[in-house]
Symmetry: C4
């Protein structure tokens, strides 16, 4: 099997999304890039999670999106994933779900403010929401435009993708990413917990201030960057 390692990682990541309760039916997909080979492995379109095999994982060209290995039609969201990989070279994997609470925030078209250290552990700031797509973008190359508006959002806000590895696409749902596809899935799990916690915190208080900048910085830097001391030594 060509690109066997990449496809196995993508298979495992898609199965992990299912086990974590982040997807129902065939919603959602995860992918990984091999920048040197110029290819992306991604879930096939509309295949049930419990029947997925590594051989069914589609492999497409990073630049053109053409299928280069596998017998399946890749996820219809493939152009969104490709747009992210082409813009952000430090991203190794992307995950997309319609997870319950993150999708509620996306549908409400509200960013998720940082209300606690669970958020700060994973995301260096608020999880942003994109602008709505225009009628022209929707009628044109829609899935690519979805990726482009994510990249635009991060450029406009001056955010580094690996510091805030998640976005809410307005009226749609979350995308997360990471240095690897396993990290992208982990960020999808963390985002859903953060979205649920923020939803309930707002319900309890109406209005709520975000946490102190010092506390946010402290928790993010415990887990990320040169001064991190969370987890086992590499």
């Amino acid at each position: 099997m060509e690109h066997a390692d990449l496809r196995e990682q993508v298979l495992e990541a898609n199965l992990a999304l299912g086990r974590a309760g982040l997807v129902v039916l065939t919603f959602g997909n995860a992918s990984a890039v091999d920048g040197a080979a110029g290819v992306v492995a991604i879930k096939p379109s509309g295949v049930a999670y419990d029947r997925l095999t590594a051989a069914e994982v589609a492999v497409v060209d990073l630049e053109t999106g053409a299928v280069v290995a596998g017998e399946t039609r890749p996820s219809s969201d493939t152009p969104t994933h490709l747009a992210l990989y082409r813009a952000w070279h430090d991203v190794g994997g992307v995950a997309h779900t319609h997870s319950a609470f993150a999708t509620a925030w996306a549908q409400a078209r509200r960013e998720i403010p940082c209300y606690g250290t669970t958020h700060a552990d994973h995301f260096a700031g608020a999880v942003p929401v994109t602008r709505a797509l225009t009628a022209g973008e929707i009628g044109g190359d829609y899935e690519r435009a979805t990726g482009d508006v994510i990249v635009e959002t991060f450029a406009t806000l001056g955010l580094a993708p690996l510091e805030v590895p998640a976005v809410l696409v307005a009226s749609h749902g979350p995308f997360t990413w990471g240095a690897s596809v396993a990290s992208a899935v982990e960020n999808a799990v963390a985002l859903e917990a953060v979205a649920a916690g923020a939803y309930r915190s707002v319900a309890l208080t109406g209005e709520l201030e975000t946490i102190a900048a010092e506390l946010h910085e402290k928790h993010f830097s415990r887990k990320h960057g040169a001064s991190a001391y969370y987890g086992q030594p590499a």
Copy 2:
């Protein structure tokens, strides 16, 4: 066993409702029609899901509702299913649940507006709610009247059943359908996710606009009709 294929499909569909967490106790039922044979197979009344067998699936006459195969009493909701099959010839299966969030919308007597692409992927417009039944309808052939009011709702709103394959019966709960009973179950799963997402979106925002018509049309047509490109080629 007579009508073995139809009964196996209905058995599997009812078990799938249970596995998806859409039913508690013996609430809910799924059926499938064989239009050529003029029969409908449906869950027996009040039998626990974990003990159900294909031989216990009841088979009734599409026109009269008389039992034509099986030793069991069919679901008390059978006349509702029959009314839908007689009115809508492109419908092959029907599912009824008291799933948690869809039932909350039905009890609140509110249609579910389209707040995101999860909704647009499955339903071409808002999921409608029926009017309340009259005292005369409740006191007469109640279950048939429930089917008739669903058909009336779609006629009044000018909706095509397979474009919006779900309804909320006021003060009761959801019915879904599809070209097959498997599709009816899939729509029941999608409806519950959509109902939960809409509930939480409203909680976050109070008032919320529905999504752009272009976005709704784009997502529905990705999965349905001549220009669909979601899923694997048939």
Copy 3:
């Protein structure tokens, strides 16, 4: 083992409460009465569900509460169960849980109005909430007073226990019952679904009218009494 049948029924009922997700830790208990023998079998106090055996089920005297079989100390809520059995001779089993949504209504000290047919299928009217216990009742024979205030609530409201087989004890949680302990457990499951549905219906609408009396009566009588036609013939 003395009263083996009764104890097996009570064991199975307690395990069913656990499987249905209605109890955490050692909260909750179920019991059954043998009126002819003048005994009640009930869960032992503070024993984890996953280790419970029929031999550990306590058997107590219906009138005095004295242990007549079994090596265990009976549930501390035993006097509440006994008060119900002594007042209501058609009740064969009682279940008590701290299930999530029913307990929220009990803590809010609000009855659960009938907002849909799921409710009407099981309960012939609103699920009532008791008055608060007085300081004297709390300081005296507290658990018996809890049973007495349930009986008082039904007498004051003129309710028949088997027509509304559930109550919310103010600031505490739900008790349910039935002709058998299996029916008491089924009503505990139904009550939790009804409580969750009502909670979400109120959240969607603020204020909400109860369903039409005709619809309530129709659904209750489909499942209960001489004209019932739900389920299989006995």
Copy 4:
């Protein structure tokens, strides 16, 4: 294996947190102290629950925090646990989670008032919330400061740790404890049920009075202290 018993208890407690659904990813940790030996066993940092073994449980010095057994880096929250053990000599185990509803209250920076007997069974009063940490505390020995502010909260409110064995750290999440680490885990489970019930009670009523002092005292003393009569005789 040194301190084998202590490490086995800590392993089992951490696994129990996972089974109870109180942790996602690698959030959360539990520890136990051996006061005579002057050591604390605690979950290693950032290790997945499903792979954890007793040999990986870290053992640290109660006073200095230095690792005295085990090859792993202890949880980054270790200084918080140590601060509690050094201040409170009757505490044998501590658990920390980011459980969904307790974390929502912590993020909302609200104490959990006592709204029912589930609360009263486990906590002799409201579950308090700490003040926010200062920028200086966050920039200094942050995790130790987290422990110190918990101890300060209990001193200021005049609370006995084993009477209210839980706290909400503002903008962070819950810590619970007990005479043993198994009891600390049980209190974490109870706290999450209490937090969820209180959240929903407030949602139903807006404002809600706490329960009568007599009822609170009655339920707490049923399970705790000299007059307890819940559970089996020791």
